[in-house]
């Protein structure tokens, strides 16, 4: 070009001059996008800091350099083995038991941890008062108890607490343990720390009790290599001794995976906000481009080349996008302080308050690129304005925008960006495709609804409606309408919120339903054989239905069809899950199968002679894992006695049922003399009754544990609501973006609307009538958008229930009514506030 440098200066000057009176419009257009960019910046920056924190605090995740664990008390052979391992060690025993507060009689199943030394080696036990974290080690009469449990029952420091046969004093409140999260208590139950020396007095651990035994090692000279060598060196011996080893690095990898999932999930949320913001931005810029068509035509007429005239507006929008990106980045940096707080319950590491410039830079680049792509969609139409339209108002653009190759290129870029983003945040390409496809489908459906609504509005106008409704509905399809944008943003927001709420409610109902339907709701575990008659007697005196009393015998699998489990594990041709081979099998024995035992193959058989193989019944999924069927032989080890069995039947078990369910069932006549305990399944009418029964039984027999379904439902609810809070936080982003989009489109189309309004007033419309027109428009838009979102949510939660959770779907009414109503109300409010 001849005057290139001069022209560029002119371009910028012209862009600046021409933006007068539109600068707010331009910035507002970017507001919604800025929110999306903020979410992205915050998450990426947070993600980097999280990675750093996990790297730096790796050792605190396990609290040790490595840990050895077993399902059995350490035998002399194990002790000898442990002695030879490098580093100092601390022993820990973990198991579940009821604890009772004698002052009130309250009982609760708790996670008991007995230590013989100060552990964790890295990180700490946080307690109130702080010194209580170690008091229980020096004074075996004292225990440290989960704070939430103390709050729940109003227990104070110094109060007595009974654990098994021993009464202790509460030394302090347990706040958290390094490497665990505040949400841990919701997952595994309240934690109780006591001294190993006090453990025998509780008389809780007997032969066959379910417990885990740990030796934690501090080995300051450890390196990744030396630990790997250690594992290599002792692998066979540990397998023989049935020991498991875990290292800090392994714990980190495990945790990293879990947190990565949360992180990726949140990023998808940010993507939704970004897309919504982009759509809002595109809609707003479309209004802007429409307003500027005349200017471009005149400039063209005065001799401005097409590219240059277009560049003026590209410059304006580019600067606005840049400012939006900067504002979004600023917001994002501020917001990232909030994320650790939001996720606090799920974070096992401390996150410092630095922010990551690289992450912020990358997300700003992504945000800016996306915002430019979104604004180019409507802006490109300015390139096609013929100069002739300056003399002729009614001229239509020569080409339809969608057929413009540049338009197609931008659209392609957007879809590619979406796919790229999805690829970064899902595990597999197929998932990314699925996410991208799902998004495009939802977008397409909502756009179709918008189209249909506009057509419907046009059609309805011909009917006799009141003036306000007619005008309001006319606004839905008139030029400069917000129908598309609002349907997309509000519809998507509703979709996310409703899917979440419906799924959560459905999951919860699954657990609460049995309690309402006469199903068992209280199970007493660990009942010793000699305690069964008197416990049964006690229960009979109360308002309790005894459902069943089941003996439980614990054994281990040693061989399948004569092949030892160790060999099976090492066999590269087989892929049997570790737990299937090495778990403790809790089995039972029966004369006959119960009604609810559903046989899918074979027949129930009793042993005919003592010399033949014992006929057993196994669960369907277990048969699948072991790839065995009828006639295959399993060998179990019961306290050193080998039980040779043969599979005679296969059952299907509904594990969601609140019963004692078994992988393996023996026939009567084999296990009667083995060490065993009983589970008593009952149904109690009220929560209070259930609590009273637990109190009296535990007071007499502290070794008995009670699983109270109501309690379980409570903790599931707790976990779900904590997770839901995180999800809701992201969904709120999308709704917020939607409302911002609404705000900015209302504000930017205000001038067009103002003229209309003025005209209406001239024609005699009253203020109240005008308000009613606005209300009609926003109520209809809000309702349709939210209904569309709700319908999609119903489909999504139905398919999730069926395919992911495999449970029946019954939608909860409350969220279906409340969420659409709230979003519609918010729409109305924002619309009305801005059009005043």
């Amino acid at each position: 070009m001849k005057h290139a440098p001069m022209q560029r200066g002119w371009l910028v000057r012209m862009a600046w001059r021409d933006s007068r009176g539109s600068r707010t419009h331009l910035l507002l257009s970017m507001a919604a996008l800025a929110v999306g960019i903020a979410a992205l910046v915050a998450l990426r920056s947070f993600g980097e800091r999280l990675d750093d924190a996990i790297d730096q605090q790796t050792l605190t995740l396990l609290g040790a350099d490595y840990s050895i664990r077993s399902l059995h008390p350490f035998s002399p052979a194990v002790e000898a083995f442990l002695e030879a391992l490098p580093g100092d060690s601390v022993r820990e025993t973990r198991f579940y038991s009821m604890i009772q507060f004698p002052r009130t009689g309250d009982t609760r199943l708790s996670h008991i941890r007995a230590l013989d030394g100060s552990y964790p080696f890295y990180g700490e036990i946080r307690a109130d008062p702080p010194e209580a974290a170690h008091l229980f080690l020096s004074d075996p009469q004292r225990v440290l108890i989960e704070e939430t449990l103390m709050l729940q029952f109003g227990v104070e420091i110094g109060d007595p607490v009974q654990i098994g046969q021993q009464t202790f004093t509460v030394a302090g409140r347990l706040l958290n343990v390094s490497g665990e999260t505040p949400a841990t208590a919701s997952f595994i139950g309240p934690r109780v720390y006591l001294s190993m020396t006090a453990l025998p007095q509780t008389e809780l651990l007997r032969e066959g009790s379910l417990a885990r035994f740990f030796a934690h090692f501090r080995w300051p000279d450890a390196s990744a290599r030396s630990i790997a060598e250690l594992r290599q060196q002792h692998q066979t011996q540990m397998a023989e001794l049935r020991l498991e080893m875990e290292t800090a690095e392994e714990r980190k990898a495990l945790l990293g995976n879990a947190l990565d999932n949360v992180y990726h999930y949140l990023n998808l949320g940010a993507m939704v906000a970004l897309l919504l913001g982009g759509i809002g931005c595109a809609a707003s810029i479309q209004l802007y481009a429409r307003k500027k068509r005349n200017c471009v035509a005149v400039l063209r007429c005065l001799g401005t080349p097409a590219r240059q005239a277009f560049s003026i507006y590209l410059t304006q929008v580019g600067v606005a996008a840049l400012m939006g990106t900067l504002i979004g980045a600023g917001l994002g940096v501020a917001l990232q302080w909030a994320i650790p707080w939001i996720l606090a319950d799920f974070l096992p590491v401390d996150i410092d308050s630095r922010w990551s410039p690289a992450a912020v830079g990358v997300s700003m680049l992504m945000g800016f690129g996306l915002s430019m792509a979104f604004t180019l969609l409507p802006l490109l139409s300015l390139r096609d304005i013929p100069p002739l339209s300056a003399v002729r108002d009614d001229l239509v653009p020569a080409r339809h925008a969608a057929r413009d190759p540049r338009y197609v290129v931008v659209l392609f870029f957007l879809v590619a960006a979406l796919f790229g983003f999805a690829t970064m945040h899902t595990e597999r390409a197929t998932h990314a495709l699925l996410v991208t496809g799902a998004f495009m489908l939802v977008f397409a459906l909502l756009t179709a609804v918008a189209r249909a609504l506009m057509a419907l509005a046009r059609w309805m106008l011909r009917r006799g409606w009141s003036f306000a409704w007619r005008q309001g509905i006319a606004n839905i399809h008139r030029p400069h309408n917000q129908t598309n944008v609002l349907l997309l943003s509000l519809g998507l927001g509703t979709f996310l919120l409703c899917t979440l709420a419906l799924t959560q409610q459905n999951l919860l109902r699954q657990f609460t339903a049995p309690a309402d339907e006469g199903q068992p709701n209280l199970i007493l575990f660990d009942v010793q054989p000699e305690q069964v008659p008197s416990v049964t007697e006690q229960l009979a005196g109360k308002n309790v239905d005894l459902v069943e009393t089941t003996p439980i015998v614990t054994m281990r699998l040693t061989a399948v069809n004569g092949v030892r489990v160790g060999a099976l594990r090492d066999d590269p041709n087989r892929d049997i899950p570790h737990w299937v081979l090495f778990r403790e099998y809790r089995t039972t024995y029966r004369d006959e199968l119960l009604d609810r035992d559903r046989l899918v193959q074979g027949r129930w058989k009793s042993p005919s002679s003592l010399t033949e193989l014992i006929p057993i019944s196994i669960e369907e999924a277990l048969a699948g894992y072991l790839s065995i069927g009828l006639g295959d032989r399993l060998t179990f080890d019961l306290q050193g006695v080998q039980l040779h069995t043969v599979v005679r039947s296969i059952r299907r078990v509904d594990w969601r049922e609140m019963r004692t369910n078994f992988f393996v069932i023996f026939p009567a006549g084999v296990l009667e003399d083995a060490p065993q305990y009983f589970a008593i399944v009952t149904r109690t009418p009220t929560a209070a009754e259930a609590a009273r029964i637990q109190q009296t039984i535990i007071a007499t027999y502290p070794n008995i544990s009670a699983f109270d379904l109501r309690m379980i439902v409570e903790s599931i609810d707790e976990i779900l609501s904590k997770a839901a809070f995180v999800i809701r936080f992201m969904a709120m982003f999308s709704v917020l973006t939607g409302l911002l989009v609404l705000g900015s489109t209302v504000a930017t189309s205000r001038y067009d609307r103002l003229e209309e309004t003025r005209l209406m007033r001239v024609l005699g419309a009253r203020r109240a009538q005008l308000n009613r027109i606005m209300s009609a428009e926003y109520v209809v838009l809000g309702l349709i958008a939210t209904l569309a979102g709700l319908s999609l949510a119903l489909i999504a939660s139905w398919s999730m229930a069926h395919h992911l959770f495999q449970m029946p779907f019954r939608p909860a009414l409350a969220p279906m009514l409340l969420i659409p109503a709230a979003i519609t109300a918010a729409t109305l409010l924002v619309g009305r506030l801005l059009t005043r």
């Binding site: 009176g21 005149v298 003399v391």
Partner: protein, 226 residues
């Protein structure tokens, strides 16, 4: 200056094509003033657009200073418009976000003229609006806006001015004032003028009048004005 040879212009309209202009031959000499009159819809604006290179004929040639506009690219046409033509519209067409002076400066700035600001001041002075330089179009009356538009049209000392019903949106008195300015500037700068009009007061000032009817030239008449 401007020569039209056997121009035809049609538009596709659905499945049919409508012929807006046909058999147009016209010669406009340098420094002459020509009015184009005719009933509404007869094709006057279309003809003006073809002459100014805003649009291309379906058949025939438009020669601007002996240059055939047909093979030129859009950008070359834009250069010609910028350097050699000026435009006056019925609806003024000022950019609403720019001040009067900034509006006037556009063509000069487009050209990279370092004197743009000075020339704009000078022209605004000539149309009697030096006091209103910093005002925005919406702060000006219709007549004032059209005066700014005149200043803008003349700033690059164009060879030819195209005006499409320049007084169409103004009352008689204001219209007269605009015509005084238009013809005054035209005379001072020795510009060619092609103006579409319904205004009888205007036809009395031009040298020749071309009458269009249904897309054909039905009469070309010299008025005898100098």
């Amino acid at each position: 200056m401007l020569k039209l040879e056997n121009i035809q212009k049609t538009f596709p309209s659905g499945s049919r094509t409508i012929t807006v202009l046909s058999d147009i031959d016209l010669l406009i000499r340098a420094r002459s003033t020509v009015a184009i009159i005719g009933p509404s819809g007869s094709g006057k604006t279309t003809l003006l657009g073809l002459c100014a290179g805003l649009d291309r004929p379906t058949a025939g040639r438009v020669l601007f200073n002996d240059i055939d506009l047909g093979p030129l690219t859009e950008d070359q046409l834009a250069d010609i418009r910028r350097d050699q033509t000026g435009f006056v519209f019925q609806t003024f067409r000022l950019l609403p976000s720019l001040t009067a002076k900034e509006n006037v400066m556009i063509p000069a700035e487009l050209k990279g003229d370092p004197q743009a600001a000075a020339r704009a001041d000078e022209l605004l002075d000539q149309v009697g609006l030096s006091e209103r330089r910093t005002h925005y179009p919406r702060q000006l009356s219709g007549g004032e806006q059209q005066r700014v538009a005149l200043a803008r049209a003349f700033i690059n000392q164009p060879k030819i001015i195209f005006a499409d019903e320049p007084t169409g949106n103004l009352d008689d008195e204001t219209g007269q004032h605009i015509l005084d300015l238009l013809f005054g500037l035209n005379r001072d700068q020795g510009t060619t003028l092609m103006v579409v009009t319904h205004d009888h007061a205007l036809t009395e000032r031009v040298q020749s009048i071309v009458t269009l009817k249904s897309g054909r030239i039905v009469a070309t008449r010299a008025t005898g004005h100098r």
